[in-house]
Symmetry: C2
Subunit: 292 residues, 2 copies
């Protein structure tokens, strides 16, 4: 198969992810022209100024003319409306991808709206930090060494798959293919659930009558544990709603875990508590050792 | 009251906390002679080599002769046995303090063993990170800007309280007085519970049939969230057992929090989920703003 060369890349949502994708492809010399589309004029102006994009517009028809690669890097709630907007203007041969955190719900929406063009859509999810946001946070090295999960369907076009994988590889990422269901289950366990647990702890403490005193003595461990509870509220609401079934599955497993722990604590079973902690600590150390 | 001057400080457990306490008091020129007592000969030798202590011994009677300040900085499980060991040798005027993470249970143990000498015991808890351990991790600046909670009882000697507060102040810490019950409740909420939740998540994932795949896609958010699940297993087992009632209270509150969240997710109440996340995020941001 030929080397990746994108003539016209259209990025919907030139924020941390969309802006970094454009910047990385530019740096790798894989794209000739980048058009940014978005509702925030100020952010688009900044993206132009930073050289992340070459052109900014809100005219979808104009943006998609002669485009050969389209990336949707917008909040989950905007994905379906944008699929509807772009559907009439998708030319033959254009490849569409996204950077959404859940995949099953996006595939349902894309299939409904794109019809026959669905085969040109390659769902993807770059697993890269997203605490900062906006074009100013974009950087060409954001994806280096990071994982990008692509979740093609049985009817996804092979060449489209190949081009999307090439694009993320050119950004320095490791591209891994999973089914959408696998993706959503895995991310529910190691990303969505921890976010819910962190938000939940801070919320529970904030609702206590002596919340101010409790926060006064919170220290470094609490700070790290709850860092993800400073994430975007809208983004995580959408992720929870979009991945409801898998999240409920692991929330149930976690509730059982806590119930078991409470039982051990109530009966004073120090040995069982030690066994849980030891297993967890060992598993985390093994994980860290592999990650490095 | 006169300035703090310790002639002979005896530190049981010359690890991160005990070693740093000795180092800080030496640097502040508040102590003339430091004796380290501990079971680990290698660690004591290292403490001597590093100048944290001037003398190392396992002879408790010898260590306590003419001592005027005794710090117990050992794991919670060793506190009661050491109280028993030192009780016969505590001379009049000596001040005893500890650095344990729970206070109610230590007070019960100390009261039982020390008898009339209990009034010279000032329970304390420096809230300072404890990921590294051993004498090698000790540093004189560990407590600068950190909080130390002292939990004197009604019958605690006023001069002993004063000397303990002076010592921690000399280490650069902010000394705050709470009742032991208050201390144990506050720490259960903002420290002990998060540890249980983090250990619990890693344990739950490690027990899944596809644990390897789940860990493969765990990223930065998971890493920070679970950092405290790499803490000492024995230490946290003892803390959980020592602060059982308060921990069970907040575990119950947290289980209700999760149950409520699951209900919102099951009924698809995106608005309620957003409200929880928004309240949590706002509370955390306010906490961070005050901390700085």
């Amino acid at each position: 198969m030929e080397d990746l060369e994108i003539n016209k890349l259209v990025v919907f949502g030139v924020g941390l992810i969309g802006g970094s994708f454009a910047a990385a492809l530019k740096k790798a010399d894989k794209v000739k022209h980048v058009v940014g589309v978005g509702r925030g004029q100020e952010n688009l102006a900044r993206a132009l100024q930073l050289g992340l994009i070459d052109e900014a517009t809100n005219d979808v028809a104009l943006a998609l003319r002669d485009a050969d690669f389209v990336l949707l890097a917008v909040p989950m709630g905007q994905m379906a409306p944008i699929f509807s907007q772009i559907a009439p203007y998708l030319e033959a041969g254009v490849v569409v991808s996204d950077a959404g955190s859940t995949k099953g719900d996006i595939i349902v929406a894309a299939r409904r709206v794109l019809g026959a063009r669905f085969s040109r859509f390659v769902p993807a999810h770059p697993i890269a930090g997203a605490e900062q946001s906006g074009a100013s946070a974009a950087r060409s090295d954001l994806f280096i060494g990071k994982k990008v999960i692509v979740t093609p369907e049985a009817d996804t076009d092979g060449m489209a798959r190949h081009r999307v994988a090439q694009a993320w590889s050119a950004c320095g990422a490791e591209v891994i293919s999973l089914s959408a269901t696998q993706h959503d289950q895995v991310l529910a366990a190691v990303s969505h659930l921890p976010h819910v647990l962190a938000y939940g702890l801070v919320h529970m403490i904030a609702m206590q009558p002596n919340a101010e005193q409790l926060f006064e003595f919170a220290a470094g461990g609490f700070k790290d544990f709850t860092r993800i509870a400073s994430s975007s509220v809208e983004m995580w609401r959408d992720i929870c709603m979009g991945n409801r079934d898998a999240l409920l599955h692991y929330l149930n497993a976690y509730q059982l875990q806590l119930k078991q722990f409470v039982g051990f604590l109530e009966t004073g079973d120090a040995h069982a508590i030690e066994a849980i902690f030891a297993k967890a600590r060992e598993a985390r150390e093994q994980w860290l050792a592999k990650k490095i």
